[in-house]
């Protein structure tokens, strides 16, 4: 029974949008792309990983939006490898990601980027 309460509590906690503890980069993303509802991102010196949840009504084309943002960011930060994902799982994983990014962890995150499957 305890586990049940734990899950419900954590479900609600994680879903509240932390507008306040957002990194400046996230706020900037939200400003430039209005469709984003919740965004989490990891920025290292050579990789930018943006996980987002699109507003409910726009979710029909969430993958297209994620792809556009990826292209856009790719232009803005040419010397960075940019990955975006509109998958809910990506947002959850990024939010859990406290320790610095290992390559293996990064590969797992990249697997959530749907646009990669479409390209190759």
């Amino acid at each position: 029974m305890r586990i049940m309460c734990l899950t419900i509590v954590s479900l609600f906690l994680l879903t509240s949008c932390q507008a306040d503890t957002d990194t400046p980069f996230n706020q900037q993303l939200k400003a430039t792309y209005p469709d984003i509802h919740v965004v989490e991102s990891i920025v290292t010196d050579d990789v930018i990983y943006v996980a987002m949840i699109i507003k409910p009504l726009k979710q029909f084309s969430e993958q297209k939006i994620a792809a556009d943002i990826k292209k856009d960011l790719g232009k803005k930060y040419p010397n960075h490898l940019v990955y975006t994902s509109s998958d809910m799982k990506a947002t959850i994983e990024v939010r859990k990601q406290t320790s610095p990014l290992t390559q293996e962890r990064l590969n797992q995150l990249i697997s959530y980027d749907q646009s990669i499957e479409k390209d190759d």
Partner: protein, 144 residues
Amino acid sequence: MKTDTIKTIAKKHDPKRPLAKNCLMSFIFGGSLCALGQMISLFYLYFFDFSEETVGDPTVATLIILTMFLTGWGVYDKIAQVAGAGTMVPVTGFGNAVISSAIEHRNEGFVLGVGSNMFKLAGSVIVSGVFSSFVIAIIKTLLA
């Protein structure tokens, strides 16, 4: 007496199905089943390594486990009498068709009873699905 006079009289007394109530009930029950499915999906998303694409499979499996218990305890058909399509359209309806046939034909033995009668109801769903998917996939691969 001519057949069509009998038919018109019979038409007059055909009890109208309570359409509004049925639709409302199937909306509520169908919706709550899908909401339950979404919660299960969220649970799997949080605690297991499933992406949003592949989270459907464990959700469906969990729902069918739930159906097995509901069918076994004799509750599912009571709900379905109220819910109508609400409990039939979701995958629990498919699960219930398979599980109720299996339970029903248990007394004829497992091989001949359960084995041969299990898909008597759900078979039509699989056959129509597979055949239509085959046709569509062939057309798509030929065109694209």
